[in-house]
Symmetry: C3
Subunit: 263 residues, 3 copies
């Protein structure tokens, strides 16, 4: 039972996502398709990369992940497919897969990349502005249906990578970064919670406010309180209980979080 996921910045109002499903089912009728997000900020490759990297490990081996955040559509940027560990990935070669590539490297998984050049696996007519529909969706459907990666084009070894935020060690702790704002207004950061061994002795400073210690979960403080906790990916998250930390603080991706660890 082939499974595909879709991650795009297409929005849900124009039918752009639905039309890709039509193309996929025309090629691989038995495919199950899960939407990860279609509300990635337009052309924000890094945001799309994080959405995909956080969700994909929870899918079964063999899943094909189709991701299209593609400001360079119709230019020289290469169309790409890859096997990273036991999952497949299809999309533009613009760094969108960097976090998954790095995670696969850390785990010692297999990494194979191909440049999509074989038009046999595309729609007959390929527009200049919608490769999601005309090129990536058919390739993903063929992969899901069992076409070998090597059939799709020649192997390459230099996929584009984008710089990812990483926390910096300081004399008194870390400088971490807000990596995103979820729909509850919780702030994700790039600091693994495992970096903070003695959790009561930590102080977070961002945007003029301080948060002391790590709590176990939202419900352990009063509504409105600003708290820090380990998020569902194992990273430190700043949240306002039953509220929006992003609104309360005026925070956004890229903001620095000073992390001070005392004796």
């Amino acid at each position: 039972m082939p499974i595909l996921t879709l991650t795009t910045d297409f929005g849900l109002k124009d039918g752009f996502v639905g039309v890709m499903k039509g193309v996929i089912w025309g090629i691989c009728p038995e495919a199950r398709i899960a939407d990860l997000s279609h509300s990635v900020a337009p052309q924000n490759v890094l945001e799309g990369a994080f959405v995909l990297a956080r969700a994909c490990p929870f899918f079964p081996p063999g899943t094909v992940h189709l991701a299209v955040v593609d400001p360079g559509v119709g230019t020289e940027r290469r169309p790409l497919a890859a096997r990273l560990g036991d999952h497949f990935f299809v999309g533009p070669d613009n760094g969108l897969f960097t976090p998954v590539i790095e995670a696969t490297e850390r785990k010692g998984g297999a990494l194979d990349f191909v440049h999509l050049t074989n038009p046999r696996y595309w729609l007959p007519d390929v527009s200049r502005t919608f490769h999601g529909r005309d090129l990536f969706a058919p390739v993903a459907a063929h992969l899901a249906g069992g076409v070998p990666l090597a059939e799709l084009g020649p192997a390459i070894t230099d996929p584009v990578r984008i710089p990812l935020p990483h926390p910096e060690k300081t004399a008194s702790g870390w400088n971490a970064h807000v990596t995103g704002v979820d729909s509850f207004g919780n702030l994700t950061t790039d600091l693994p919670a495992s970096a903070l061994e003695r959790r009561e002795r930590v102080l977070f400073r961002l945007l003029g406010r301080e948060v002391r210690g790590l709590v176990d979960s939202y419900g352990h403080e009063q509504p409105g309180a600003l708290v820090a906790l380990a998020d569902s990916q194992g990273f430190v998250e700043i949240a306002a209980v039953n509220g929006s930390a992003a609104q309360l603080l005026g925070a956004q991706a890229g903001d620095v979080v000073e992390v001070l660890i005392s004796g």
Copy 2:
């Protein structure tokens, strides 16, 4: 062909919903999954409860309904599964299933509840902040795949219930309540249309405006007119023809609707 539904306050931008589908298909690959809503207002248990209760009766027997509006995630609140009539329900024990429980009681259907304590049916690692992915989704998938309810944990008989709005009888009619605002701006109420036998003799007053009588459908008045009619659930609804009654009136859930019935 197992069917699951999903109702959450997760939004659609972060991949939280998609990741639950990955978990479900990893356990029950043949499952069909229908999204009911992921735009429940954050932590609004009552709103989520109504969305679920209105939609679930239209699904086939055996459907598993997964609902997660869960301000108490990671605290002592119990995780729950239930058989209510011929459907299954999985989610936090915080009142989210109250309208379905009451409807099942009115119909004399079976009601069985279990406290989810058997980790065999969860993901190996359960985070403190995302039980939707780590606990409820796997349990729902196992139920859909045929695991008996009793396998999931011990029976309980005291699920949390939340107070639901009900209309109050007055000397001249009813005091009803706005129970929600749909995406057209129509106002749903808690007054069954069947309570109004002689429909031409009724007057609705809310927020300084009056609406006289019940019409059969939107198209029977001019665009912009404020009308009352029986909604698709059999309750009285206040609507602005081809417009938004909520905007026109500044109405919101909880507002009182005076219902005056004349001789």
Copy 3:
């Protein structure tokens, strides 16, 4: 493997879309269902018609397209099903299918229409306000499951058509029209790119701004630049590179685009 698509103005927050899937799977459990859009502006039949017409050609033969933008629900407007070419369509008879009908006529495809009058293929109780759930969804599911069109009601030959925008020839070129704004803020128009043979000699004027020539794709100009190009349907599109042309220009559907072709 039957495939259905859904196009509505129902929004995604109230469960109206999910409940239709419950009805469909109750009748045709093996159906695959693709959402095209549920964010059509309320009661905007023309916008829904374009979303459907642009997406449906990319679905396999036999697909059943269910579309409900239905300001006249519960009035005398007829419920309709049709075979247009090798696809099926179900929805209100209010012009929603006009672009598909015209496209089918241009290609010389088959056109068969029936007035949905046979309640055997509806839910037992049909509300006055939600034919999407009670009448159109069950009919679409039965069609997907193999019930012949002629079973559903008597043939008709006069489906409602709405006027569609078309570009007007002028002395110096064309007066085209903005037909929509996609979620990127790109402006679609009604002018086929094939009408502009010598693409360097064309000048577009709208809302006080000028755009010279047609580019191949977004990535061929600097971010922020206003460009014209052929969209993925073969029509002229006005876009702001990595930005929103709609915001930049204050443009909306219906605005005139002067197209000047020089010697």
